[in-house]
């Protein structure tokens, strides 16, 4: 009697384990397979891309890719993208972090209103703001500059930065900071010595997010730049008129940096310093 119960329990556990592993694998496939398909298309000759049925392995034809690599302006666009995204990342953290600190550590009048307003800026289709801003930029000479575009992208990214860091910040017990104060820290040094290392993963997460928002943003980039196109704006401009196989190659060019970037910062995204153990 007890034996069967035990065996049953062991069986359930084994099956649970299989179920668990297969769901993990399935979910990985769910993410990877579509990207794989895009890769197959990119590495196939134009004829194969437009033919039917498809093979499920790439034939390693580099025609479409070399076409893009040789495209005039491609490298400049890439450089612009990195530049704008980098500036956006730095600006949104510098501007957002103090506000997050205020939100999570002080009780002040208007706090909930402020938080709500920050949130609600995201309820606005921000790319549309690019149009009135374009007028303003032309007047101030910011039009068609990387910095001008980075300012707009920062507007897009700051609310996210504030939101993401705020929820992580609130999880850090204030006693840690108080302990630092009693040990001779000022508010600032307590922040840099204790809080900052603990929220670094959160800050990194929102920095990546800011970078990615800027990297991927098409609309404002297309409206606000002419000579200094970013990669997405550049591709959008050229994809509209391109045949299918070039579209896929363009898409692949957009995906690769994303793969690399997320890989480079993956540790920071989640490393939580064992805060859970405190």
């Amino acid at each position: 009697m007890t034996d069967t119960v035990l065996v049953d329990a062991a069986n359930t556990r084994k099956w649970g384990r299989y179920l668990y592993i297969s769901s993990v694998v399935l979910l990985c496939a769910w993410v990877l397979v579509p990207i794989y398909f895009l890769m197959v298309n990119t590495l196939s000759s134009p004829e194969t891309v437009n033919s039917f049925p498809k093979t499920l392995v790439p034939e390693f034809d580099l025609g479409s890719l070399t076409f893009f690599a040789g495209f005039a302006g491609m490298l400049t666009a890439l450089k612009n993208s990195v530049l704008v995204a980098g500036m956006t990342m730095v600006m949104s953290i510098l501007i957002g972090a103090p506000a997050v600190y205020a939100l999570s550590r002080f009780e002040f009048r208007g706090k909930s209103t402020f938080r709500l307003l920050i949130l609600l800026t995201r309820a606005f289709p921000l790319p549309l703001l690019a149009l009135p801003l374009a007028v303003m930029f032309i007047r101030t000479g910011l039009d068609d500059t990387a910095f001008g575009l980075a300012l707009v992208h920062t507007t897009l990214a700051v609310p996210f930065a504030v939101l993401i860091t705020f929820s992580l910040f609130s999880g850090i017990p204030i006693e840690l900071e108080e302990a630092a104060w009693t040990l001779g820290c000022t508010r600032l040094t307590a922040f840099t010595m204790v809080v900052l290392p603990l929220i670094m993963p959160g800050i990194t997460a929102s920095a990546i997010f800011a970078f990615v928002i800027s990297w991927n943003e098409v609309f404002a980039a297309a409206v606000l730049t002419i000579e200094n196109r970013t990669l997405t704006a550049f591709l959008l401009q050229n994809l509209d008129t391109s045949p299918l196989h070039l579209k896929f190659a363009g898409g692949f060019i957009l995906v690769v940096p994303a793969l690399i970037f997320i890989f480079a910062v993956r540790k920071y995204l989640f490393a939580m310093w064992g805060i859970a153990n405190r």
Partner: protein
Amino acid sequence: MAEIQIKNVAKAFGAYQALNNINLTIADQEFMVLLGASGCGKSTLLRIIAGLETATSGEVWIGGKRIDHLSPKDRGIAMVFQNYAVFPHLTVFENIGFGLRMQKLPNAEVTRRVERVAGLMHIEMLLKRYSGELSGGQRQRVAVARALAMEPDVILMDEPLSNLDALLRMEMRAELKGVLAESKTTAIYVTHDQVK
């Protein structure tokens, strides 16, 4: 000289009156034990003395100086927190040496003091670990060691030994009293423990 005087201190959290006109004098180098039921405001009083909480009314004096307006770091106090507040991103060594590093003491001096207090608290073998790798009682002793390492004029301890077994607690308390008497520190020691 670090005599603590608490004059007419009151604290209200909104409508709730946590402390009511407290008057208390702790003589220089005295080891004062505060005993009280849970929720009676012991931690609140310590936090007011440390400058982490502002009193609704009243005055706090240390060593003949009024200190209400000073920030915690300028009060010459060290505090052991009820929930330890051991920094999770630093090793035990760096936790204990944290205050000394803030004072920019030379490395050798930091090491000397950290090793001394770690020895007192019987945690010298844990110096390389992180807080997540400690037991509750070990973490608590790190918190005490961190305050002791500061060699402050006044030490405020909020149930610093509550998580230790009875034997170790008795031993530690005796040792604490000895060390503090030797270093001429004024101490406030909060406890639930009736068998004092």
